[in-house]
C-alpha cells in the first residue's frame, strides 16, 4: 500500500471506475471516508449531469481467463432491445434505459425500492480484445459480455519459468 492509498480523499479523481468491493472493515471505512470527503469538496459546484438519487445504476463484475475477459452486469427487468453495448479501443460501454413500467406512480404503492432510468457504465479494458468476436448475451436479467483477447494479448502473458542456477 502506497502512501497515496492512505490519503482519504481523491478530489473527485475517480481513477479506474472498476474496483473491488472488498469485505474488510477497513476498506469499508476507507470508502466511507472517501465519500465523506468527496461529498464535502464537491458540494459547491454544480453537477447538472449527474444522475438523481434513486436512478438505476447497474453493478458490473469483470472476470478474466487466459483467453478472454468476461463482463457481467445485473439488469433485472430489462429487455434486450433496451441494452446497448459498444466497444472502444480500450473500454467497453454498456448503455441503456430501464423503463419505468409502474402504473400511477407512487399513489398506491406500499413499497418502492426498485430503481429505474437511463444508465451508462464504462469498463476499462486492460488488454487488447478482438472486437469482431465479442459476444453479448442477456439471460435471466444478467448481461454477459465475452471479449476474446487478441492472439497477441493472450501471447503476452506467458509464464516465466524460474531456473535453478
Amino acid at each position: 500500500m502506497t502512501m497515496r492509498h492512505l490519503v482519504p480523499w481523491s478530489f473527485r479523481k475517480k481513477g479506474v471506475p472498476v474496483r473491488h468491493d472488498e469485505e474488510s472493515p477497513f476498506s469499508l471505512l476507507q470508502q466511507e471516508m472517501n465519500n465523506l470527503f468527496d461529498n464535502f469538496f464537491s458540494g459547491f459546484d454544480l453537477r447538472p449531469f449527474e444522475m438523481p438519487a434513486g436512478a438505476f445504476s447497474p453493478k458490473v463484475d469483470v472476470s478474466e481467463s487466459d483467453r478472454e475477459v468476461t463482463v457481467t452486469a445485473e439488469l433485472p427487468g430489462m429487455e434486450e432491445k433496451d441494452i446497448e453495448v459498444s466497444i472502444n479501443r480500450d473500454s467497453l460501454t454498456i448503455k441503456g434505459e430501464k423503463k419505468d413500467k409502474r402504473e400511477d406512480k407512487g399513489r398506491d404503492y406500499h413499497l418502492l425500492e426498485r430503481s429505474y432510468g437511463g444508465f451508462s457504465r464504462t469498463v476499462p479494458l486492460s488488454v487488447e480484445v478482438d472486437s469482431d468476436k465479442i459476444e453479448a448475451a442477456f439471460r435471466k436479467g444478467v448481461l454477459t459480455i465475452t471479449l476474446p483477447k487478441t492472439a497477441k494479448a493472450a501471447e503476452e502473458k506467458k509464464k516465466i519459468r524460474v531456473r535453478i542456477e
Binding site: 472498476v18 474496483r19 473491488h20 468491493d21 470508502q31 465519500n35 461529498n39 444522475m51 438519487a53 434513486g54 436512478a55 445504476s57 453493478k59 458490473v60 463484475d61 469483470v62 472476470s63 478474466e64 481467463s65 487466459d66 468476461t70 457481467t72 445485473e74 439488469l75 433485472p76 427487468g77 430489462m78 429487455e79 409502474r102 402504473e103 398506491d108 404503492y109 406500499h110 413499497l111 418502492l112 425500492e113 426498485r114 430503481s115 469498463v123 442477456f138 435471466k140 436479467g141 444478467v142 454477459t144
Partner: protein, 135 residues
Amino acid sequence: MTDTVKEVQKKEAELQTGVERTRATRVYTPSVDILERKEDIVVTADMPGVDEKSVDITLEKNVLTIYGKVEPSIPENHRLVAAEYSVGDYQRVFTLSDEIDREGIQASVKNGELRLVLPKAEKMKTKKIEVKSEA
C-alpha cells in the same frame, strides 16, 4: 447519495437468528415494489439470475416466502478481477393478511424480474356504493 442507493439495490438478507443454512452462498434481499390495486396486490422483485425453475414461492399459514436460487456465473478458468456485486441467492419473507385469496396467487419471472399477483379476497374488494338521487 448514490452509494446509499446502490446499497439498497443488493442488500444482504438478515437471516433469522438460530437458522442454519445448508447452502454455502450469500443470501440477498431483493428490492421490491408493492402496488395495491382495486382487485389485487402486485409484488415486483428484482432478482437477476433467477428464472422460473430456480424460484421457489411458498405460502405457509400467512407467511409468503420468495426464494431464488442463483448459480455462480463466473465461467470456468476465470478469475474475478473486479467485483461490484457478488452472486447469491435471494430471499424475502412477507406476512399476508387474511385479505388475500390464496388460491388465486400467480407468479411469473421474466428477465430476472419476479411478478407476483395476489388477488384480494372477494369480501375485501373495495366496493363502490352508488349514490342514488331521489326524485
